[in-house]
Amino acid sequence: MATQDNLSSISDLDMVVDADAHISERAEQLVPYLDEPYRSMFGGSDEESANVATPSYPKDELFRALGGKLQWEDVSTAEAEEEAMERFGLDHVLITPTLNLYLPIFSDERYAHALSKAYNDFLIDEFLDDGPEGFKGMITISPLAPDKAAEEIDRLADHPDMVGVIVGSTGIFPPLGDRRYDPIYEALEDNDMPFVLHGATGSFTSAHPFIKRGMKSYGELHTVSHPFTQMFQMTSMLGQGIPERYPDIDIVFQEAGIGWIPFTMYRMDNEYEKRRSEFPTLRKKPSEYVKESFYFTSQPMIEPKQSKYVAWLIEMFDGTDNLMFSTDFPHYDFDTPEELFNMIRNHFGAEEVQKVFGGNAAEVFGIE
């Protein structure tokens, strides 16, 4: 930990990249972009357009807003996203979907794929092509038909502002170490794209019904939903040797904070050391693959009274090389840049803090 050249103010940062900036796309916004027959099936009238979600987006029975105590800003337009950028002093935002994180729990893989394409075209048309330079998008895929997901990656990877591929990670079953996803990894490799995993609490009812049933409140459910999702997917990818097979693919885990990372990687090292027979294709410890191939977005930051504990956690996974600041705005647990900055600025040198706030994201996503 350097102490000589600490940054004293957030305004000293060269660049701030928000590596998880949600837009709140609505189902009816996607209807004009849907391929047939879905556009005609679900977009027949205005009234029905609003119900386009009915067949498969989960009906949200979660008590998210606490009866209005928590307020969600609507970020369904480029103007609203630009306003958020300016408010928080963000130079670049990596735009992430909301509804389209639910695609893994769809029953109809054709419809899920059509929605992913519609969302991607909507994103390009309404955000990326006319929006400010700082807008960066990712190709959303449905994991249900990996061959079609690979086609979608090939279709859009050349768009100058599509800088990665994102998948909703809650509900992907079997998890992402399975061989059925090889076409997706091959497309990522061919197109030199990072792979971004983002959980979704709204998918939990389908994905993990017993956990959902056992949690008596949204707060209980949300405590476990994101880290559990990411632990499940990361463990599968490590166990089945995804980073051994595809060492050039950068894999990014969003919105689960940082506490689960050292826990999971070192716990899995233990399993590897004691049960190596079950991981015969690994050539090094899981934690080493994590440090080399995996990246993480910061939100939601834990807030212990002593910030040194946060710094220690970050050090445990070589976080100054692997951590990317993120807001998760406009969700109720979003972080501001100041929150992370104040937590780490006394513990890491200027160069390391710059990497967390933009350098790592710039490298992984090719942002200039």
Partner: protein
């Protein structure tokens, strides 16, 4: 092979067939002697992980495979010693821990002279 004070008799060659082992205490050290295809290996009965009785563990093979390939194999039968406490696997010949070569079995040099197997302490 000259006799020296560190050299201790373990057993007669004919007393330990290939695949067999025995445990002896020499100078307060528990030492396992293994006949692996006619090669004699002497190993401290102390796992470098947590001090478990490694020489009482299973001597067998290892599962191998290439990432992305379908096949899995069983190789090196009779050459992989695993600790009964936590399953750490070591190559009895190289002494290497299979999951991290920074860890090594504690091994001793063996010598055979006139049908007798000797261990040379201080050679670990």
């Amino acid at each position: 092979m000259s006799a020296n004070a560190n050299r201790h008799q373990l057993c007669a060659v004919e007393d330990l067939d290939p695949g067999e082992r025995l445990l002896k205490t020499i100078s307060d050290r528990e030492i396992g002697v293994f006949n692996v295809d006619g090669e004699f290996h002497a190993v401290a009965n102390y796992c470098v992980h947590a001090g478990g009785p490694i020489c009482e563990g299973r001597l067998s093979g290892k599962v191998t495979g290439e990432a992305g390939e379908w096949e899995r194999d069983w190789e090196c039968e009779g050459e992989i010693l695993s600790c009964p406490w936590h399953g750490w696997e070591f190559d009895i010949d190289s002494g290497e821990f299979l999951a991290d070569s920074q860890y090594q079995l504690i091994t001793y040099e063996t010598e055979i002279e006139a049908g007798t197997v000797y261990v040379v302490l201080g050679s670990a």
